[in-house]
Symmetry: C3
Subunit: 373 residues, 3 copies
């Protein structure tokens, strides 16, 4: 990783205005510019592994239905019948017999590629053609075993892989597509989604907030990458004798075999804007998916990913990694919540960033800039 001259002292850059974090209008603008027009991670392909598999998701006010087609392709639709609009399923995930889903209200039936197969009582309606009434779809693509969707395709020529830029190449040594979820924890955080991204982007708080983490990885060891495509992030080194981020710094899991010596001695923390955070460890991958609910509330899904071969071992136990990060997560969410409350105290004015918070300033610039014109 090249030395980055952007880590040098900026001219006392300031934190954003209170409105950035508390104003409902600003939140709506964030949702329409960032969440409805960018690629959002909505889960893992392992949740719908075979044709007929489906998951339903709610994110930023949208109800989505993601289905695995007979042709092996995964597609995303709105969870809404084309007849009267009824939600097609309330199940979070499942498997569709014969790759078909029927609306519970009037039994309109759709193939899992979205095609309308049957519409009781519609034959005699003049001008009705089943071909016109397939499910409404969103852009959908996968990378590394993650499923991404994009609601508004008005930015042309922005395929997922272009948005990821060189990120896949950078982490080619981790076998992402093969990994399986060994643990999942959901959090409900009373803070703005951008405070959570800010918190993820500096370790200046580690000595006071995360003493256990600071014993495994030096808080000042962070080296940041220039932002590129949708990603922002950097790496931190592991202390000598520390094998991975776990309760005691040891691990019984093998490290990913293709890692080079540098990769196996660091942890890599990246944000994939706007709704995902990924950290690459020597022996596991941790992901955080954000769902902003209101200016001061964000739901979070955190997953720990491991190699199937490792998970198949009789001594496999993810708890060392889960407990370590669950504790760290809770410490972080508490700080985000206190910051949300203090920003809403009536007395907040933008404060000064230190040089170790440069990535936050960069993030502020990116998040503040209007998208295309």
């Amino acid at each position: 990783m090249k030395p980055d001259d952007r880590n040098l002292a900026p001219q006392m850059q300031r934190t954003p205005s209170a409105a950035t974090f508390v104003c409902p209008d600003r939140f709506e603008r964030d949702m329409s510019t960032w969440y409805r027009r960018r690629w959002l991670c909505v889960g893992r392909t392992e949740e719908l592994p075979r044709p007929g598999g489906f998951v339903s998701r709610r994110i930023v006010g949208m109800s989505l239905l993601i289905m695995h087609g007979r042709d092996g392709r995964i597609r995303a639709f709105y969870n809404s019948c084309r007849h009267r609009g009824t939600l097609l399923t309330e199940s979070a995930h499942g498997h569709l017999a014969k790759c078909r889903i029927a609306c519970p209200y009037h039994a309109w039936t759709f193939d899992c590629d979205g095609t309308l197969l049957g519409a009781p009582g519609m034959k005699e309606v003049e001008g009705f053609d089943e071909a016109d009434w397939g499910l409404n779809s969103l852009e959908c693509d996968t990378w590394g075993g993650f499923v991404f969707v994009r609601a508004d395709d008005s930015i042309p020529n922005d395929p997922l892989l272009q948005s990821l830029a060189d990120f896949p190449e950078k982490f080619a040594a981790w076998p992402l597509a093969d990994l399986k979820t060994g643990a999942r924890i959901e959090y409900d955080i009373q803070a703005n989604w951008k405070l959570i991204l800010q918190n993820y982007s500096e370790c200046l708080h580690c000595p006071s907030v995360h003493p256990a983490l600071a014993r495994l990885s030096p808080p000042t060891s962070g080296e940041n990458d220039p932002a590129n495509g949708c990603y922002v992030g950097g790496r931190m080194s592991l202390n000598d004798g520390v094998a991975s981020m776990t309760a005691d710094g040891s691990t019984r899991r093998p490290i990913f075999p293709k890692l080079n010596p540098t990769e196996s001695r660091h942890v890599y923390y990246y944000i994939l804007l706007p709704n995902m955070m990924m950290s690459f460890h020597p022996d596991y991958v941790l992901t955080h998916r954000l769902e902003p609910v209101t200016p001061d509330r964000t739901k979070m899904t955190c997953e720990w990913l491991f190699e199937p071969a490792t998970m198949a071992r009789s001594d496999f136990d993810p708890r060392d990694a889960v407990q370590f990060w669950d504790l760290t997560n809770r410490q972080d969410w508490h700080m985000c919540e206190l910051t949300q409350r203090g920003i809403a105290s009536g007395g907040y004015v933008p404060g000064p960033y230190s040089n170790r918070e440069h990535l936050l300033f960069e993030l502020d610039q990116v998040l503040a800039e209007p998208i295309d014109q």
Copy 2:
């Protein structure tokens, strides 16, 4: 009932926009044009049978006090003292000693015809005349044992009976004014009030949603009336061997004695716009009263009405009718709630009505049209 050529295929009519069901501004417009300017059913006269009887009701943000006067007339008032505005009673119903109600705050006392009878400490106020400070009233009238009120009387010459048109005559064979309530169930439905009216107006969903109902009454047997005054509806036939809509299609209750052979072999389902649904069975009457709360929430009171002579029989048991419709209601509310959620999914666009949903299109037209000018 005459054959109705309006049941013929319309040119692929479409469902309304999402805003119709989810938009707060549209909801407010519905409330001011439909709920504050039309006759609303607020209960049965049997709840306040004698002079001094009263009920209090909350409906669409209004707190009402309905009282039975010494003169036998039932009147509706706002539940608010003319002095400082205090709510006069928190009781849902009761009986006023001496036909008087006293404000709990400063003891202003009103007759149950609304006249101010006493106002402590007001005698010495120059210009104060008790005659000016009777309770503020609403239009109130009764028909068939039902109490109706109208908040805004700015549409002149719209008495209740004119609004009902030929509806009383149509159902003259049912002794409505004599019936008593044998059961009541209240529901809290997370759906727009118009989705509930739509659901009531077609039986295309009966095969998939109500298999038990479909065994008693053929889903395709519906014959609709032209809308007239405030009513919209039609009838469905009973299968051979089915006596009424009950769990097993039988009934131990006598049928209403004045029904003709056609009336005793059908069930009649009508909406009295905007807040009532009535269904006439051979041996009982079922009513639904809606109270819209927000665009996506409606409270519902459902009552089963029987003849007093029938209720007095030692073997009277309303459970066969109650359980049948309670099950059917819950199936319907579930579909209304799924439709509300799907319409709010982000991907809803108006869909096509089948020919068996013609009444919904008619209802949409009526509900969409602006009232006077």
Copy 3:
């Protein structure tokens, strides 16, 4: 107390419009003109008796941190770190070791006079000067052992003592600064803050609402003062044989020694606008502090204050005074809540004040008038 010709009959003055009590925009205007620009009582100095003592308070959307400095002065700040805005403490009160408070996020440390003492990682930031980043403060002053703050100092030359006018002199016989809190009860009232002030300003409701109170103090004995500075109020006499306002009218507590014969035979009820009500009894002082939350919700803190020497007696028992006023409070809040509901009933129009509600009309005028231009 001089006879007040303003108690003579006004020309049938009317209560305010419904919007005054239910409209969110009007509520916001009340908060910005009255609560953010006037002196608010936020507690007692006894809660932070020594240097290093602190209390945190939320009031009308503001989070405040009030600290007792090394110099003995009590100061008020926003509870928000100057770095990233984090809430400095979640504790309602406590004592700061070494008179310092450290932000839990990045350990910026402040003296309890607000000065920034240390900011990890900021030394190398060009242009950063610790002297620029002390805590943001509000005006703060004390009188009679009460702590007052003022958020917006845009009205110049309005010190606390000027706002209190001759109030301190009027009640010089009560040793307010020495008193200690013997009991505290918090209430959550579903009514507008101004209905609570109105309720406090007349005893016309006492016969119907407070029969126990009416036995101790004649409801018609009220004599009101002309409003002056921030205060509005008057006094009521005690019946013969009644020593104080307690469950049975007796008290085992000595009366305050400096009271003159008139003072010891009356109870004095005053509002200090906008958020405090104080009543002076022969043997104790009762205070109510309001925190408006929404147009129809107000939190209330009620405290009973006694002389330390009295509290030190082995037979000290405040329950006679606490139970009497707790009952009376609950009766009052119930009337305020019924009035809030009736005003929102849809049928409220301004009603007539009696001559015994003159103080309410005066209060309406004061609260309606726009502040400086």
